[in-house]
Subunit: 496 residues, 2 copies
């Protein structure tokens, strides 16, 4: 519980004006420094009802240069938001590097709004809090500065403040029946907020509880807290540490590599009867995907695999069976500069499908632990923690009811060579091969290790990897169709 | 009216397979070329019910490499869409340069869906068609390739097709009561579609009417039409013409320049009583903006003006009076690469506010006819047509009920010099000035001409310019507050 503060004299207007000039100059100075910093700043202003969240947000906006700030208040989710995992609406409101966002109420107030009472509600609440903690962990470990302010007001102070607002005709409209209800329920709500703050108290994103009884002192305390946190953070995060290429690639968990190497690759599929079989499965997939769509379940397919393993062709077979109006293929290559200025998962969150829709990622977030690991685009700590982060991302999709199907298309090194040569020799395939493909090929062993780690560390119950032997294209395609149908059917049968 | 086609034998499966192989190869070849082309391709597939829009969309998707295509079907608008001008939902679905989008039904089917009958409906319909024509004009004049396919089916063919679909258990679910209703209403709907096509028949975006009685012939005809249009377009649009800096800047319409030069600049505002006055207006603005928000009207502020004219400070005064949770300030500087790969208005459409919200643009689309005109970032034809395009953009905002308030902050050349020097001499202001500001200053006369043209050519009844003498900051700020209040009140009184 927050301790009650001893009675203090209120800050005089004169003292306030004197101090706020300095604070204001310091905040603008902060924004100038932030502009070139490789991180964003997130300021959450949450707290007890009538503690002045809105006022604080407005004062911060008045003190800051409005051109570098964005303010978000989360009302009822829109239907586009409701149809996606809970955290999607917050991911879409993240500022890029060099900018500051203020969140009135933050994601925390949203979680509290549900006002859990039954054991089932409480379990939901608990889940929501864990999602929030993970969300903030992901942001802070990526370098974001997260400043969470909790405005505290004792029960008596709250009552006094509500009366004060009601008595002034300019502010009377702000006091609603809802506010008085929450006042009567003060103690229970305080316990709930305590639980929330404890569950989301993270090393990189601690709560700052600020006494809000005296509005002027409160405003200054919030701004000063922001400045202190920024200065400390800027000192250590001014420059993004440079990543270096690994000298050699040692496996983190050899089980995955073993699983990969043990995969038999040279299945043959008789051409007789192949088309019939394929069409049977295409028809089945079509029906299954339609059933998922009718159940408002969305599907995310992830295609990873060696260069020339046949991802493109496999995706075409898949899209053949799906109504194009319900699906999108997202090819992942170099990120745009907007994407580079955000957390690496932001560009994938962007494309999470609405209810009943399909997104097919042609390459995916797993680039973090494959090409980014091996080319040194991500630092050691970054790709190492990515395994857990990607599992968390997928868990949130699945918890929301999204069906996640991941494929690794595996071919032998010899088969890749054959296909590369064939591409070079065929006029209309030549655009599909370039120097980079040959460069990657020379790092086959390192990639093999990285793939092994990926398979070992991100093969989860809720989003398992399907290893597809792909030396024989027909075999691969049938396997992909079968595995997809099974995955969707299982998910539909299990209810979300 | 579309002419009925004479009876022809249907295309055999063998002939179809033979030709579709070539078409498919050509389509993929097209995508390879498109990848590096400086324009996007938009394919609209619209037409009579049961003519096979969905089938055509799926066939195109199957023939194309799905990684370069996105398909959109517009259902009921989401609430985020409904709260913005009608075309916003289509602007957000535009592909960037080098990519292709397929629109099942397009924006045209949306317009037809309303099924206008009363004179009032018909007026709405007419307005919708004009909006569509303008939208397509803007895209095509920016270089986009817009291919509009209309699948035609005679009344008898439609009946036959509906029966055919119903008789096959795999497709029976696709025929709804709605379809039979539209069949009974065939003639009226045909006339309506005719009107629609005639109103949206534009030189750069003509309709291609394709007979859909024979599905195989139809699929090939659509694909071949796409290829023919692409080849012709690619030949002439392979390279984006380079813009050059103007040697001298002559006014297009001298009236604006005269208005600018005639503006008295040296008003004085006594400091006594100023704060009182300002607070009175701030209070009034606060109430007016709240009233607009309650009426679900949104507000767009545009701030343009000389460097150091005080845009930033004026915006701060404004945001002081507005709840930060309802407003966003969008500072416009260099576009991101995603923005560069779209129509220049796309980055402004992105930030159009939801119902009851506020967007303040700190610099705006008018950069097109100011810095882009003078620095040669836009070609002559581009900035010349921009005047009309920007008027159209603002008209769409206003038609939807958005209140658009545009300010030009005007200072004298001497005053600018004083402010530049002051910035250089003041530690905490130094970040606000750089070599570019001095460079722009040397082009004062050219800018003056460009501003004059802007004022003359984009001063509309629905979105007039407010010229603010800004040598005296206090005067400017009061004027901005007053003009804003008046503009909002007038708009609210006039009903949308």
């Amino acid at each position: 519980m927050v301790k009650a503060t001893p009675d203090q004299p209120r800050l005089s207007k004169k003292a306030y004006d004197a101090r706020s000039g300095d604070v204001r100059a310091a905040l603008v100075q902060m924004q100038v420094q932030l502009k070139n910093a490789p991180f964003p700043v997130l300021v959450v202003v949450a707290g007890v009802d009538a503690a002045g969240k809105g006022d604080v947000v407005n004062v911060l906006n008045a003190w800051l240069d409005p051109r570098g700030v964005e303010t978000f208040a989360f009302q009822e989710p829109t239907d586009e938001e409701r149809e996606r995992p809970a955290m999607w609406r917050f991911w879409r409101c993240l500022p890029p590097h060099g900018r500051l966002a203020i969140y009135a109420g933050g994601w925390h107030t949203e979680a509290l709004r549900e006002d859990p009472r039954s054991p089932r509600d409480l379990a939901e609440f608990d889940l929501a809090l864990r999602r929030i903690a993970r969300f903030e962990d992901q942001l802070t470990s990526d370098g974001a500065l997260v400043i969470k302010i909790w405005l505290h007001l004792g029960k008596d102070d709250q009552r006094a403040r509500l009366h004060e607002l009601e008595d002034d005709e300019r502010t009377a409209w702000r006091v609603t029946a809802e506010d008085w209800k929450s006042h009567r329920d003060y103690d229970r709500l305080a316990r709930l907020s305590d639980t929330m703050r404890r569950a989301t108290q993270r090393p990189g994103a601690p709560w700052h509880v600020i006494e809000a009884g005296d509005p002027r002192a409160r405003n200054l305390a919030v701004a000063e807290r922001v400045l202190v946190r920024f200065r400390a953070h800027h000192r250590t995060h001014k420059v993004r540490p440079v990543a270096t290429k690994p000298r050699r690639t040692a496996p983190l968990r050899a089980a995955g590599l073993r699983r990969l190497l043990a995969l038999p690759l040279d299945q043959t599929v008789p051409s007789r009867g192949y088309e019939e079989k394929r069409d049977k499965w295409l028809g089945k997939l079509n029906r299954t995907v339609r059933a998922a769509s009718q159940a408002r379940r969305s599907i995310v397919w992830v295609f990873e695999g060696w260069d020339a393993a046949g991802k493109g062709g496999a995706i075409r077979r898949l899209t053949d069976a799906i109504d194009a109006r319900d699906s999108r293929v997202i090819p992942i290559s170099r990120p745009t500069d907007e994407e580079k200025a955000h957390h690496y998962l932001w560009r994938f969150w962007r494309h999470v499908p609405r209810a009943g829709m399909v997104t097919i990622y042609d390459r995916s977030w797993y680039g973090r632990v494959l090409v980014e690991r091996l080319e040194g685009f991500a630092r050691d700590v970054e790709w190492r923690r990515a395994f857990a982060e990607m599992n968390e991302f997928e868990r949130e999709l699945v918890e929301h009811g999204v069906i996640v199907i991941k494929f690794w298309l595996h071919i032998s090194k010899d088969e890749q060579l054959r296909r590369f040569r064939n591409r070079e020799d065929t006029e209309y395939k030549r655009h599909k091969i370039n120097a980079e493909d040959w460069r990657n090929r020379r790092k086959w062993a390192a990639y093999e290790t990285a793939v092994g780690d990926m398979l070992a560390l991100t093969h989860t119950r809720f989003a398992p990897w399907h290893l597809i032997p792909a030396n024989t294209k027909r075999h691969a395609r049938l396997e992909i169709l079968k595995a997809s149908c099974t995955a969707i059917e299982t998910a539909l049968a299990a209810k979300k």
